[in-house]
Symmetry: C2
Subunit: 339 residues, 2 copies
DNA sequence: TACACCGGGACGTTTTGAGTCCATCGTAGA
DNA sequence: TCTACGATGGACTCAAAACGTCCCGGTGTA
């Protein structure tokens, strides 16, 4: 059943919304037994007119009966309602996760896709696809988009396609070298995005593991400074979320640093900042680029991360509370919400 | 899967059409590999504009790619197409039956519902529901509707609901007493329909098994004549189809008559007329009301009958060739088409 | 008997959908 | 290298559907 619904959602995305709406109408009528049009409209938060159109339709379908004293169910309607229940559970399952996440962390929009990135690579693709869609909808003409690195965001880049609005965008890495492998570096991701969309991109070349002195010298470079300025003016930020321990090790942090991170309770990581379970920043990678306070000025901050193993990490970053849009998967959503 | 689709069809009837259309677009693009908008529109019998809207949508969904040299598939689109195939077979199965029946017998509209009336009484309800819908759509203000008897048409009456157009209608039995049980008599059906819709009805009281003399006397009765005149002016005729042998026996025909019918090759029966396998009328019940030639003047003739056991009978009546709309079920459709 | 609430009809406004035409761009072929 | 063709994408117009809103006649109930 899930397969059918997923396929349909691709070819007719609002099928779910319409069916849900009509199901709710039937459900309410069932609860009231007999109810007037206006009462029903108020209780469903609809205007009278649209409810009326829906009721007329359901009457045509023989599911509702409309008499002079009100609206009530037909036997066929009752039967349909019974048969729909398992399907609706299935259909609204993800919607419920989305709503709960939205409420708990105060995020503007949450998108949850089926499955678990830990278990199937297809889910990560889907994650990328939905994030790419969200990005496309967020972007306006000539927007600066700052992106982090990581395999998930790389997948977002892969799923991007050109669109009129995106063509004028400028893609930049959110922060300088964070010790990722080349393929998943923020620089690479930004350039792939620019290529896929027909937009522009700027690179930020900051080698890893630089001595303090060389580092300060580099910062004085005019073209570095210029790029950093562009980055910090980003109106849209797209970033992944990593597990603090995994990220620290991958970046070849010293054992002392890893130890320190763990003692500080670091759980999640996003563009070089480490967060603890309360969403407090406990550490950060020594590099240049987007600063945490710049997020306040950004129009939209889009987090993309999935997989049940990342649940706690995602939650820690969400608690910091700067996200506008979260794209995640069922596995992570379950994990996040069960604590 | 079938269950999900059936439920959806009740809450969103044109979901099938839209999905089919979009699937076809993908399919064509796949076949062409790369194709221009106009070429594609012509090949799909669409106007350029609507195709364009669809292509834009499919592009947004990441299923098609639009470049300056034409339209082509994305990997995601190919994948979707593969996964859709079994679903489309399922979805278009009934549609194919409908089309084949339409072609073979030259009927204006054919509706085939899932299942087999012989096996499940639910299918007969569904048959009634679809026929009621077709009737509602056919009727205009103050239409005379002539109906036959039988359990199927009785079900149609049960499924009717009031609508503005139907309120002005006049329901009449197509022909006088045909020896059905009271519940399923045409008179009863007409009165139920009138009650359900808020319309009017006229009765035609002609007792069964009347002697020739009494019969002729009855015909002279002014009010009988008046009702007959109304009947013969019917603009819409709704009738069932029976198996000749079964009907003859149910009506307590003499063994000689049954024998004669069989020898004449009677297969199907509709409102008192018996048809052989070539659609030729071989016999008729001795009563008054609608005559066969009146069907020519009727605007719409709606036949409702299902069940694989009735397949041959239905085919024999269809061959006579007076139907505008046929409502049947999967079981009967298969049987009819396999000969 | 009076009142409150019901469905249905009507009307003006707004939004969406569809038909048509044209500008621009890229590619292929001469 | 230039030209011509066919591609997309944008713009404009008109029609139709959707919607918000108000009112009317009827009906059940207090």
């Amino acid at each position: 059943m899930k397969a059918v619904l997923d396929l349909q959602k691709q070819l007719l995305p609002d099928v779910l919304d319409i069916i849900k709406k009509r199901y709710q109408i039937l459900h309410h009528v069932m609860a009231y037994r007999v109810v007037g049009r206006r009462t029903l409209a108020a209780s469903l938060h609809m205007t009278e007119r649209v409810l009326r159109a829906e009721v007329d339709f359901l009457k045509e379908q023989g599911l509702l009966e409309v008499e002079s004293f009100g609206i009530k169910m037909t036997p066929a309607g009752k039967k349909l309602l019974d048969e729909m229940e398992p399907m609706m559970k299935e259909m609204t399952g993800l919607a419920r996760y989305e709503e709960q996440l939205r409420q708990r962390f105060g995020i503007g929009q949450v998108i949850v896709v089926h499955g678990d990135s830990d278990e199937s690579s297809y889910v990560k693709q889907e994650l990328g696809r939905m994030a790419a869609l969200a990005l496309r909808k967020s972007v306006q003409k000539e927007t600066v988009v700052a992106v982090s690195g990581g395999s998930t965001i790389y997948e977002v880049a892969q799923q991007l396609a050109s669109s009129t609005a995106l063509k004028g965008s400028i893609f930049v890495p959110a922060r300088g070298g964070l010790g990722e492998s080349v393929e998943y570096q923020a620089n690479t991701v930004a350039s792939v995005m620019a290529k896929k969309t027909g937009g522009q991109h700027r690179m930020l070349h900051v080698p890893d593991h630089l001595g303090e002195e060389a580092y300060q010298t580099l910062l004085q470079e005019p073209n570095i400074q210029e790029v950093v300025q562009v980055i910090r003016s980003a109106r849209i930020v797209v970033h992944g979320i990593g597990e603090a321990k995994v990220m620290a090790k991958r970046r070849k942090a010293s054992p002392e640093l890893v130890q320190a991170l763990l003692e500080e309770g670091a759980l999640g990581e996003a563009f070089g900042y480490y967060f603890d379970r309360n969403g407090v920043v406990v550490n950060r990678m020594p590099t240049v680029g987007l600063k945490l306070e710049d997020l306040q000025n950004a129009e939209k901050v889009i987090a993309v991360a999935g997989g049940s193993s990342k649940g706690e990490s995602i939650a820690s970053v969400l608690r910091y509370g700067c996200e506008s849009i979260l794209v995640t998967d069922e596995g992570a959503a379950k994990k996040i919400l069960q604590d």
